[in-house]
Amino acid sequence: MFGYVLRRTLWIVPVVVTVAAVTFFLMYRAPGGPWSQEKPLPASTVRTLNAKFGLDKPLWINPEAVQAKRDDGVNNPLTLGRAYLDSQFFNYMIGVFRFDLGPSYASKGAETVQSVIIQKFPVSAKIGLVGIIFAIVVGLPLGVVSALRQNTWIDYASLFTSTIGVSVPTFVSGLLLLLFLSQNFGVSPVRRPEAWEGLGRAYLLPGIVLGLGTMSYIARLTRASMLEVKRQDYLRTARAKGVAPQGVVRSHMLRNALIPIITILGPAAADLVTGSIIIETIFSAPGLGREFVDSISKRDYSMIMGTAIFYSVLIAIANVTVDLSYGFIDPRIRVRR
């Protein structure tokens, strides 16, 4: 089991390398350097900036640096090897594994990408957290009740609600909510910047709007999965041997019905975190999603790469955690070594 956990965890490394490499080359292909603005900077300034951030170095490998070191009389193979890899790509990749995502080009290096992420991400995380808690706490019971009372009005009402919930995208429900609140109550859910510190009421509406879709999805999936389990023979066996009805629901139905739901929790969490791009735009929350959209329009390439890598690591961790949790829930899926 320990070997499996380790293997699955180490799997994150190649994923990050792939994502980092792909985003690096996508950004490298993008037209216009990070310094191209409305008014072009003088060539000398561009040269200075390029030199400062190592953008004048070759893309892949740097044989010239090796030669220069040799000329200086350095023969240490480690130093020479490092000089050989003193290129844009490898410097960036080495930085990634040291949690150094480089300077933010838009700020001309005044801020590093990781400091911006550390500063902005908590807001996105808190919105996502409220969303996923809302989704599970409301969605799971809704699906269970729906399945236990199949084809009654409770079932129809919950199906109808969850179908609406799945069908309204966040930018529609969010905008309509904003419109409704501001026109009928004169309250604007758009908060001042201070309101986003700590975990205040500011997070309630964006979190719920964000979690609405996932909540409905979980409710639908729980219902479908409970209905599937409901017909299994082992339920008859359990009832026949005298297990109390709640016990049947809890340990025989729910436990088995949860497996497909856990499968989607990883992607769902990922959806919530990345989905907050739109939510943050609507509620003008100072989170990482909005920072990302801004960095695209500012052509802040290092910021775009850094954010994409950061989110893929996050999603990878979520997926691995979900995979590892199967074994605890379903002994049948416990891995053979």
Partner: protein, 313 residues
């Protein structure tokens, strides 16, 4: 003409034809049964009707009384009237014409990307679940890798690149956005198909089929896949809806379909500034997204109840 393999094969061929004939008759009644069960689900039937109407409006969009791109200096920011059913926007363009034209774009993108995701997801899930071992491990790691791509981020980056690089020729087309959404959304399907195959391949009927001499491909497509149809249908319908939402969201943020080409998403973005004075701007595309997605979801529900062999009463 002599069938390859001699008299034995001839016999098998005759038996197959006999069986095939009988199963064709069975299929017909199965189809009728399925249809009857589908239409018993009233919400699903209603959803299908709404969906057909929306589809029809998208197909007939060019027949709208106004050109969706025709500007007008005199009729700007008007409310709904007999002439302009949904009013006009800040450039004097007819909102109704733009909404139905936007539907063409959004529906096409949703269907195309789901078809792509379906092809990729079912193949990968079936291979992984059926064969297991290193094939399973490899394919599932690939799926994991794709699941780790932050979808919306990658979509935004790719959409920006398409808009600004040499791929600019594709800008007005929906192809890149549909492909990108499809390529980034097959993973859920693959996982669900794999799980079903994993569970079903140990069942006795698979063993029986193998004992009767069925090959891997036949077992996969004829014996196991039908058992996976329910989850696949549910997931695929959800995916059409999700793709429409993704496309609209991208366009809403300004990274999707670019104006002046209308799509429900960028119409909503256009409307946001005038929401207080002319709420119908926002309500028209918002309602269309909502109705479409909800109808698709109801139809998916109905299909699941109709296709699920267990729910037979």
């Amino acid at each position: 003409m002599r069938p390859a393999g001699g008299p034995g094969a001839l016999q098998a061929d005759a038996a197959e034809r006999l069986l095939g004939g009988r199963s064709a008759a069975r299929q017909e009644t199965m189809l009728r049964l399925t249809l009857r069960r589908f239409f018993r689900h009233r919400l699903a039937a209603a959803g299908l009707v709404v969906l057909m109407l929306i589809g029809l409006s998208a197909i007939l969009a060019p027949l709208a009384p106004y050109d969706p791109d025709a500007l007008s200096a005199t009729a700007r920011k008007q409310g709904p009237s007999a002439e302009h059913w949904f009013g006009t926007d800040k450039a004097g363009r007819d909102i109704f014409a733009r909404t139905v034209a936007g539907g063409r774009v959004s529906l096409t993108v949703g269907l195309a990307s789901t078809a792509l995701a379906l092809a990729v997801g079912v193949t990968i899930g079936a291979l992984a679940g059926y064969f297991g071992g290193w094939i399973d491990a490899g394919l599932m790691r690939l799926t994991d890798a794709f699941l780790c791509f932050p979808q919306l981020f990658v979509l935004i980056v790719l959409a920006t690149l398409i808009r600004t690089t040499s791929l600019r020729v594709l800008q007005g087309s929906m192809v890149p956005i549909a492909v990108v959404i499809g390529v980034l959304s097959w993973m859920g399907l693959a996982r669900i198909v794999r799980a079903t195959f994993l569970a079903l391949r140990e069942k006795e009927f698979v063993e029986a089929a193998r004992a009767a001499g069925a090959g891997n491909l036949r077992i996969m497509t004829r014996h196991i896949l039908p058992g996976a149809v329910g989850p696949i249908v549910v997931q695929a319908t959800l995916l059409v809806a999700a793709s429409i939402i993704t496309e609209s969201g991208l366009s809403y943020l300004g990274f999707g379909v670019q104006p002046p080409t209308p799509s429900w998403g960028n119409l909503l973005e256009d409307a946001q500034a005038h929401m207080r004075t002319l709420p119908v701007f926002a309500i028209a595309p918002g309602l269309m997204i909502f109705l479409t997605v909800m109808s698709i979801n109801f139809v998916g529900d109905g299909l699941r109840d109709a296709l699920d062999p267990h729910s037979r009463r």
